[in-house]
């Protein structure tokens, strides 16, 4: 009797204890996992992005690769965003890297990616194709207008760098010309949002001073600066062509 009870007792005792043991282990792993998860999340939240944005074919991906991998590659139109750290172009400032997001230029994809990431941005690089800006000025200005009037961008005084890319081309327009073209276009877009003479429209969507033609200097909150750039250089080493962009990134890092 007792022997049978003795054998039964420990058996009964071990079963629940292993069960308990495994449950507590699972719980522990679960909790540890959750803590881990939130830690990582927090960390990555602190990592702020600089967004590369612009019209289709402006050279965003070329610039992205140049800044993150310091090399020139062939590129095709992007279907999804690229995310990467600017490791190689800022070696002297080790530990002060910037996370870049290259947003696809297709109108249909762009704004989705933009809306998701703008909240964590600390800078915007607006890439312009200086060769075709004459033809594409409307579309470029449309994109820039939307960035400049974005409440999130305005509220947080996000600095914006307009990169006039493809300066290696003979027909590329100069920085001043690009700036002029964009100012003119922005001026004509803003009156479709709010018309100062008739006081119609949504005033919060109006850029700059009401009584003057638009210039970038009128923007108080967001500093808009311009830079020359050659994202695709045939020279394998050295990142000349993108120094101005690197300087901008350095101010943010």
């Amino acid at each position: 009797m007792s022997s049978s009870g003795g054998t039964g007792g420990p058996a009964d005792a071990t079963a629940p204890s292993t069960l308990l043991y495994s449950i507590s282990l699972l719980l522990f792993v679960g909790i540890a996992g959750l803590i881990f998860y939130f830690l990582i999340r927090k960390q990555s939240r602190k990592l702020q992005y600089v967004l590369l944005l612009g019209r289709n074919g402006a050279g965003k991906t070329a610039l992205f690769v140049k800044l993150t991998q310091d090399r020139s590659v062939l590129t095709v139109s992007s279907l999804v965003q690229n995310v990467g750290l600017t490791k190689d172009v800022m070696p002297r400032d080790s530990g002060r890297e910037v996370q870049l997001i290259d947003i696809p230029g297709f109108e249909r994809i762009r704004w989705d990616v933009w809306e998701t990431n703008k909240g964590l941005s600390k800078g915007v690089i607006f890439v312009v194709d200086s060769v075709t800006i004459g033809r594409d000025s409307q579309e470029c200005a449309d994109i820039l207008y939307r960035i400049l009037t974005d409440p999130e961008i305005q509220r947080r005084h996000i600095p914006i760098l307009v990169v006039c890319n493809k300066q290696d081309e003979v027909t590329a327009k100069d920085v001043e010309v690009v700036s002029d073209i964009l100012e003119k276009e922005l001026n004509s877009i803003r009156i479709t949002k709010y018309n100062p003479t008739t006081k119609k429209g949504n005033k919060s969507e109006f850029l700059g001073k009401v009584d003057q033609d638009f210039t970038f200097l009128q923007l108080r909150g967001n500093k808009v600066s311009f830079a020359k750039c050659t994202a695709r250089s045939d020279d394998p080493d050295g990142h000349e062509g993108v120094e101005a962009v690197v300087d901008f990134l350095r101010t943010l890092a």
């Binding site: 590659v73 995310v83 249909r108 449309d142 877009i189 119609k200 429209g201």
Partner: protein, 641 residues
């Protein structure tokens, strides 16, 4: 044999490429991306034609890669499918670790593997070819070659189009001519239909044999090919229609591309329009519109119209997931990969996908999306999903749902920012009237929405001239006159005028006079009302094409009801076709934008919007949501999908 082969990431970075003789391949690949991958026009066929180059691609959704092969389209290589899947596997094998950690390293070494795989596949194809050749010694080579050619070419086309699309025989002729240009094997034939029906079952059997002989026995292609050939045997003519469909499809693609390049003024993003009305008008209607305005691009994106309330409950979750998923990607996958390491990555398999996709298709059709388009969309989505890595807490169903949602948003988002007002103002400063032509079938609301748009222009300080070019339906002119009188009363100061010439006159001439009148009298905008016409009415369609050809309006808006389902496709396709057919220009004027009317009368059936936008590739410029002047809105894609 292959012109080029390239591997690139979906982010747009070319990892590897082999280039044959013919210069640069980037434009072709970009065209493929723009008109197939981006437009949700992918599917079983996975191929595309660009400048005499046949492109075929394969997606790797786990590592976000695209494999593209290009070859001269007269070559009709039959081993490309096999090659693509082989090279895909090989590349994954070789660079698995690199890809996992996303080190975009150098992949030049892969050239050796490429040669190996290509030689092996070509070798295999040659062997397969050699065998059946012995069996078909006595057959009339000319004809049979042709059929095989078309069979193989079809592989490149869109097979799905077959689903009962009749009435497209008019395209056959064109398909034929096109093929003759590009396909040295085929001989000219007077009637393509005759050829087909004249073919005996015997011959078709032979051709089938040949087809199978040419195809590698194993590999993913053969199971697909078998049922197809079976179907062919039963209904011979369908095959031609499929090609008709393909061609038509390609046509549509082309047009949208042309539009994109050639047309610089596609309309306005029009954030402002709602708000303008809101401020001007006086009444509760306008408050409504105010909301509509805010939700346009900003955070409160839920309430375009009451209609989507019941939908929101269903779509909220996936929407959030979408954000979460995007965010996850954004965070560089830090935690993602940690968990992946623990659990092991799961990928979506074909078998898992099939039932979910079927369900999605039904859901789309329930939402009134045309069946054909639902099918294509689902194909494209499943192509994109297959092999995709699942997140730890994601199920196949939710991931697919998100993907479909994304696809819908993509379709409804214009390719370019739309800002009609800006374009009108630009025309004004150039001293030209901005001309908009409205067309559509009977009773869809052309005149009513024209009046609403006139009101909107008036609100924006532009002088409007309405051209009464509906000289057909009794009362059409009077209807416009009434609108004018009312609008004039609301905006006094002689800013709106009706140009009318009574009934029975040539509409094109009236439009032309009206535009001249506007020029002389400093009207800024000319709105041309046309008579409603059924898409099958040949003479009336020709008249419309003439009106557009003669007057070259700045914008051709197609007015369609939100109520239509499958019919939507037919309407838009035929209107576009008529405009293209009756124009001698290289880049004929076709529909530039869509006005979707009677949106207030439907619940959650946004299908018509999706169908029309998908077919035309053009934006939905305005949405009519009622019968008063202020019931005009922008489409809020987020709220609708």
């Amino acid at each position: 044999m292959l012109d080029f082969f390239t591997i690139f990431s979906k982010g747009g970075i070319v990892l590897f490429y082999i280039q044959g003789t013919n210069g640069i391949f980037l434009p072709s690949v970009n065209a493929l991306i723009r008109s197939v991958l981006l437009e949700e026009r992918g599917g079983k066929s996975s191929s595309f034609m660009h400048d005499n180059l046949q492109l075929q691609y394969k997606l790797d959704n786990e590592f976000d890669l695209v494999f593209v092969v290009g070859y001269q389209n007269f070559l009709q290589l039959n081993y490309v499918d096999k090659f693509l899947s082989e090279i895909h596997l090989r590349f994954r094998d070789e660079y698995k670790n690199d890809l996992k950690f996303a080190t975009r390293g150098e992949y030049k070494k892969f050239a050796i593997c490429y040669e190996e795989v290509l030689t092996a596949v070509e070798e295999g194809a040659r062997e397969q070819n050699a065998r059946p050749k012995a069996m078909k010694t006595f057959q009339d080579s000319e004809k049979s070659k042709k059929t095989v050619a078309s069979l193989i070419e079809k592989k490149g086309g869109d097979e799905k189009k077959s689903s009962g699309k009749g009435g497209k025989t008019d395209n056959n002729g064109k398909v034929q001519t096109k093929k003759e240009q590009v396909e040295p094997l085929s001989t000219p034939e007077d009637s393509p239909k005759g050829t087909l029906s004249g073919k005996s079952d015997d011959e078709i059997m032979k051709n089938r044999e040949k087809l199978f002989g040419k195809r590698p026995g194993s590999g993913p292609t053969s199971p697909k090919a078998k049922p197809k050939a079976e179907k062919e045997k039963k209904t011979k003519q369908k095959r031609m229609w499929e090609q008709g469909g393909t061609y038509k499809d390609a046509n549509t693609l082309d047009f949208s591309k042309e539009k994109k390049n050639g047309e610089s003024q596609s309309g306005g993003d029009g954030d402002a329009q709602d708000s303008d009305m809101a401020i001007v008008g006086s009444g509760k209607d306008l408050a409504d519109l105010d909301e509509g305005d805010e939700n346009d691009y900003e955070s409160t994106e839920e309430d375009e119209s009451g209609s989507d309330q019941n939908e929101n409950s269903g779509t909220d979750a996936p929407k959030k997931k979408l954000v979460a998923a995007a965010a996850k990607k954004g965070f560089g996958g830090g935690m993602f990969s940690v968990f992946k390491g623990l659990v092991g990555s799961r990928t979506v398999s074909k078998e898992q996908l099939a039932p979910v996709i079927a369900k999605m298709r039904l859901a789309l059709i329930e939402k009134n999306v045309a069946a054909e388009i639902a099918e294509k969309l689902c194909q494209s989505v499943s192509e994109k999903m297959e092999g995709k890595a699942l997140g730890t807490f994601e199920g196949v169903a939710s991931v697919v749902k998100t993907a479909v949602q994304e696809a819908l948003v993509k379709i409804l988002t214009p390719k370019k920012p739309v800002n009609v007002l800006r374009d009108a103002l630009a025309a004004k400063s150039a001293g030209q009237p901005f001309v908009i032509t409205f067309c559509g079938v009977n009773g869809v609301g052309k005149s009513t929405n024209l009046a609403k748009i006139a009101f909107w222009f008036l609100e924006n300080q532009l002088r409007v001239l309405i051209a009464a070019c509906d000289t057909f339906r009794a009362g059409a002119v009077e209807q416009l006159r009434t609108h004018r009188t009312r609008l004039d009363a609301m905006h006094p100061g002689n800013n709106i005028h009706l140009y009318e010439k009574g009934y029975g006159k040539d509409a094109a001439a009236i439009a032309m006079e009206a535009i001249q009148y506007a020029r002389d009298n400093k009207y800024d905008v000319v709105l041309v009302d046309t008579a409603g016409r059924m898409q099958d009415n040949e003479p009336l369609m020709r008249a419309l094409a003439k009106l557009i050809k003669v007057n070259q309006p700045d914008m051709v808006l197609f007015v369609g009801e939100a109520l239509v389902g499958n019919e939507a496709v037919d309407q838009v396709v035929k209107f576009n076709q008529a405009l293209a057919d009756n124009s001698q220009a290289d880049q004929p004027r076709i529909i530039d934008g869509i006005v979707l009317t009677k949106f207030d009368t439907i619940d959650d059936k946004v299908g018509a919007a999706v169908s029309m936008a998908y077919i035309t590739g053009q934006p939905i410029v305005f949405v009519g949501t009622g019968q008063t002047y202020t019931d005009l809105k922008n489409l809020n894609t987020k709220a609708v999908c």
